[in-house]
Symmetry: C2
Subunit: 362 residues, 2 copies
């Protein structure tokens, strides 16, 4: 393993000069620098991050905490984060919480990530109290994605607005018998996204004088399989909704599948709408409210870099990316409703939603 000393020897200068020359800072004569660079290249020299980190205090690593790495949404956010960070020579330390409860997390996150990272990006999970303490104590920059946490800047969409858009669209088609998928898990009732989306659904329904029927609310986890299972039971009954609004596209996939398995036509017998615009939503012809997931990751990364570069990032910074309705073939007016306002299948309509409410001040 070649060290800075080897390079110094080869270039005939001191290690201090090598350090300065290689980092491009400070004054070093062009000729000296050239010699140093040549020697370093020759020897395949790469500075030891451990040594650099020990003296400088920074690691060039950013911890990313995610509830489920393998789910499309999270993996895509992280892709965005990684791309943004890589440009500046930072890298991602992955911390997947899958399979851990609120209680068993701390040891994982603790020594595992802290002290190895210069900052942390937290996806969609609220911090455990011990983690908050730790982060406050360490004073490292934190950015959240997908939800707001007091004291930390965030990047997200407006979950309520997104769900309102989906629900309004369903109602606008003439549906009155509307089911819902995406309840708040009782084990982690503090998850903002499930809570906000359900809230918005209920609010919009109520505002239109429509009833939210408990028996039409699928109490499933946020997976396609889970939704399919619950939806099959729903569709088995005689008294079923003409439309189901799902809080995520993956659940919507499950619902469409269950409907067809029960011999129901989508959208003829039942309409389905989701939120996300998952990578498979186009081919499955799902009407949805689109969010740019990778962009959220990129923005979070940029925010982190800004903080790392010493730019002031306000804890109240709240970057809300826009969403848009993407009408596809899984929705239609209800079979029995009057067709005063038909939206012909196949015509793609796009509606812009709220834009960025506050932009990154770099």
């Amino acid at each position: 393993m070649t060290t800075i000393g080897d390079v110094a020897k080869a270039a005939g200068v001191s290690v201090a000069t090598v350090s300065r020359a290689l980092r491009g800072v400070d004054r070093v004569s062009p000729r000296t620098r050239e010699r140093v660079m040549a020697a370093a290249a020759d020897l395949h020299y790469v500075a030891s991050p451990a040594a650099t980190s020990l003296v400088s205090g920074r690691t060039r690593g950013i911890g990313v905490i995610t509830p489920y790495f393998s789910r499309w949404f999270f993996a895509t956010v992280i892709t965005g984060i990684e791309k943004a960070l890589r440009e500046e020579g930072y890298h991602v330390l992955l911390c997947d919480l899958e399979g851990h409860t609120f209680d068993t997390r701390l040891p994982i996150t603790q020594g595992m990530l802290w002290k190895r990272a210069d900052g942390v990006i937290i996806l969609n999970v609220p911090p455990e109290p011990g983690e908050r303490d730790l982060l406050d104590r360490l004073g490292m920059p934190v950015v959240t994605v997908g939800n707001r946490q007091p004291g930390w800047p965030s990047v997200r969409i407006d979950d309520q607005a997104a769900m309102a858009m989906a629900t309004e669209y369903a109602i606008g088609l003439g549906h009155t018998r509307i089911g819902y998928a995406g309840t708040v898990p009782t084990s982690v009732s503090h998850l903002q996204t499930p809570f906000d989306r359900r809230q918005a659904f209920t609010d919009v329904m109520t505002a239109h004088g429509l009833e939210v029927r408990p028996q039409w609310t699928l109490r499933c986890d946020w997976t396609a399989d889970g939704a399919a299972e619950h939806a099959e039971r729903l569709f088995a009954g005689r008294d079923r909704p003409t439309c189901v609004v799902a809080a995520s596209d993956e659940m919507a996939f499950g619902i469409m599948s269950a409907a067809r398995r029960r011999g129901l036509d989508v959208p003829g017998d039942v309409s389905v709408i989701g939120i996300d615009d998952h990578v498979h939503s186009r081919i499955l012809d799902l009407t949805t409210v689109r969010q740019d997931v990778e962009a959220q990751g990129r923005h979070a990364g940029a925010l982190m870099l800004a903080a790392l570069h010493g730019h002031e990032v306000s804890p109240s910074h709240d970057e809300v990316l826009g969403v848009e309705l993407v009408v596809r073939g899984s929705t239609a007016p209800p079979a029995t409703a009057d067709r005063a306002r038909p939206t012909p299948k196949g015509v793609k309509t796009r509606t812009r939603a709220r834009g960025v409410s506050e932009t990154l001040a770099v």
Copy 2:
């Protein structure tokens, strides 16, 4: 930031003793250890990985190189890796190659990963020559997933066997007009999985005296969208196959979608079969050849840990996990064929394939 010195002072011992007590190695009197532990806990002491790494030479980080980590397969493998490594206190450094060509990769992988990691796990991509050099020079353990590379142990499935299983099944149903999706990208023609699967398809077809028609071979990338686009063109013609074998489930999704969009019934007019058993394959009722993706990640992680613990891991170690046929509703005998060997839709058949050909010797 509390250091080992602070703990030593608080416990009234030397730093050397603190180091020994905390790591649990060496002999330290129980009473001393207790005092040290108490002091450390009190001060929220966590050893600096940088300092530890500088002197010990190890980082407890494992680099994971992946072509696209937001794709289901890769994200799932990485989940498995992360779980295995975390148990032993190792963590994952992500290196996504997406958007990089063979030529622009080295700088990314170079200083970014090397020297920060104790080992590297490479998913499905062959190493760039410079990377091979680097890895050989550094002499760090390497494990590959998804394909074999000379000199490095691997974890994978038998791609040829998997594709043979799919193709045989299609032929066994009576199909003779069979299309294929999953060609080898010309830009990276050395990718083993695409190559092997296509090879096996061709071999099996030939062995049965069946023709592989170029116009029925979809030259698409390995995404659902790409496959859908190409498949729509295929299904637009009059002369179309009665079955399409896809080298991945995601492509199969696209093909099913395209067929239905063209008014064709699946499996009535065209059967579709894939490889993977993607998380959505069950709800989409896709017949496929199942592989345990997360297990591949876990095994790769275990292999890496074994190497790190100094156990001998042979470079020729080749761990081949079994696959199994999962029959669902996307396949049926061709409409025009004689139905001598019908496989009733809805009856799930599972066939065990080759098992692990060699197991990890720890």
